[in-house]
């Protein structure tokens, strides 16, 4: 977002040890998720062990950033003051090519949501919203 106004939307907690590697990677414009060293299972959000085998040896694996839409909503209600000026805003639940799912905003979508469908293919874009925080977002591959 190239906007001179101060960023007023909620931001993640960068002090949280468990999730720091994720935000350090997005800042480098890279998406990483946790992978079990023992069984290679991948999951999101970050956790203390592999939910498949309970292994605690965990690596952060760079993933492709290719994904598809599981579903989306247009949020009309003002729940956050920081989003007051941009309603309705679009939130999608996105399934990464590697399997895990996460919430994100979609970009490059018109106001009529033309052509938007469940399972539509997406690619990641990195949005440097503040000098410290980069949020991954997704856009349709057309």
């Amino acid at each position: 977002m190239t906007n001179d106004a101060p960023y007023k939307r909620p931001l993640p907690d960068l002090e949280r040890k468990l999730t720091q590697p994720y935000w350090e990677a997005t800042k480098r414009h890279e998406l990483v998720i946790q992978q079990c060293d023992a069984c290679q299972h991948l999951w999101f959000p970050p956790s203390f062990c592999c939910p498949n085998c309970l292994g605690e040896a965990i690596s952060w694996k760079p993933v492709s950033g290719r994904a598809k839409i599981w579903s989306w909503i247009d949020m009309w209600q003002m729940y956050f003051r920081g989003f007051a000026d941009e309603r309705p805003y679009l939130v999608a639940y996105v399934e990464l090519e590697e399997g895990p799912r996460l919430m994100a905003n979609l970009v490059d979508i018109d106001e009529e949501r033309t052509g938007l469908t469940c399972d539509m293919p997406l690619e990641i874009v990195f949005d440097d919203v503040t000098p410290e925080v980069t949020l991954p977002r997704f856009r349709p591959i057309r």
Partner: protein, 389 residues
């Protein structure tokens, strides 16, 4: 003993004998920021013991929900030495679970007579269930990974599920409209409901979106109010003032993931529970005379009907016709007006409505000859009971 034997043995051994509520419509029009959940709980408690003809001193088990502290509530009510007590979390899933805990306490002999007390001043204090100041705190994945995108609230999670359900099965927006209108029709016959003005499909479709595809009228109606339910053994219930309403079967199931939403619309968890539920009661779905299905958001009803097996997977959208779900239909739904038109009492008032229907106390909205009623709440923890007169 096997689990099946235990479930059969439990059948009809515990009963709901007393119920009490506040007047939900009256309180909706009378906000009071100082309204106390304890005072609300007191009102419902007195109504419930009056209803069953017991006294305060008969109560030896107490659970509270939304009433923040069971100790304080007990102190206010002069219940000094309950044999079994606990504070339940405030989520709506704890109404069904609370009744289960009470039934287990009675069935196991840990308490003779349990009072479940719910008091909620949510409308007066501006409860929102999402947004600034909600869902945060340390170790919150939602605060770190959802909220920066403006994602918040259980309703938005249901919006995501409903859109997906529409895409997979062609579920029309009118399906939710039928549910909202059915609730309204029933609420118009309920003296204590909040919403009593008629609602048409055109009105429904013209209502503003909250988390599109969900509209305002798909959302529960946050209100102030209280409910108390008194549970005791079937044996004790026989000499009380009201005909006992027996718990024929009760079951719970779960779907625990990183999100509130379920990627199969809770179908896997509910469909694994349903045979246990109906099997334990010894009846079939066609024997159910009405269902009170937790409708925090109208799609919950669709997902519940599919998971519990009233219709096929993906078929709920065409199944919920106005005829079928009305008071004279094949499966009358949410006969008090449900959470979208009676009041959002987080499932507690739905239990009361089930009891009143089975007692035949419901006047204009009475389901004829109701013998078996279903209560269900679908969420990451689901619970359902079959009640009978």
């Amino acid at each position: 003993m096997s689990r099946d034997t235990l479930k059969r043995d439990f059948r009809d051994k515990v009963a709901i004998v007393g119920v009490g509520t506040t007047d939900f419509g009256a309180m909706y029009r009378d906000l009071d920021p100082q309204r106390s959940n304890y005072q609300l709980g007191l009102t419902a408690f007195k109504a419930a013991i009056e209803d069953c003809g017991l006294t305060r001193d008969d109560i030896d088990g107490i659970f509270t929900s939304r009433v923040p502290d069971t100790v304080r509530m007990s102190e206010i009510l002069g219940i000094r030495h309950p044999r079994f007590s606990s504070t339940l979390p405030g989520g709506g899933r704890y109404s069904g679970l609370g009744v289960q805990y009470a039934a287990m306490a009675v069935y196991s002999g840990m308490a003779d007579t349990v009072a479940l007390i719910y008091g909620n001043n949510g409308r007066s204090v501006g409860a929102k269930y999402g947004g600034d100041g909600e869902g945060g705190g340390p170790e919150s994945n939602s605060a770190d990974f959802d909220v920066p995108y403006g994602m918040t609230s259980p309703g938005a999670q249901y919006g995501l599920m409903y859109r997906r359900h529409q895409a997979l099965y062609g579920t029309p927006a009118e399906a939710l409209g039928h549910l909202a209108i059915n609730n309204r029709n029933n609420a118009m016959k309920n003296p204590i409901s909040v919403m009593k003005n008629p609602l048409s499909m055109e009105d429904y479709l013209n209502t503003r979106f909250i988390a599109e595809p969900l509209r305002l009228l798909d959302y529960c109606l946050i209100n102030d109010g209280a409910v108390c339910i008194i549970v005791t053994s079937a044996e004790r219930a026989r000499d009380l003032k009201q005909p006992p309403i027996y718990i024929s079967a009760t079951q719970s199931t779960s779907d625990f993931t990183a999100q509130y939403l379920s990627d199969n619309f809770y179908y896997d968890s509910l469909s694994s529970m349903a045979p246990d539920l109906f099997g334990a009661a010894g009846i079939d779905r066609k024997d159910i005379d009405f269902a009170q299905i937790y409708d925090n958001f109208t799609p919950t009803v669709l997902f519940s009907l599919e998971g519990l097996g009233f219709c096929g997977k993906g078929e709920s959208g065409s199944w919920v016709t106005p005829e079928r779900i009305s008071l004279t239909g094949e499966l009358p739904l949410n006969t008090s007006g449900g959470h979208t038109s009676e009041s959002y009492m987080q499932g507690w008032a739905m239990h009361v409505e089930a009891v009143r229907q089975l007692r035949g106390e419901c006047g204009d909205r009475q389901v004829a000859n109701a013998e078996f009623g279903l209560y269900s709440c679908t969420s990451p923890v689901s619970a359902a009971h079959i009640l009978r007169r």
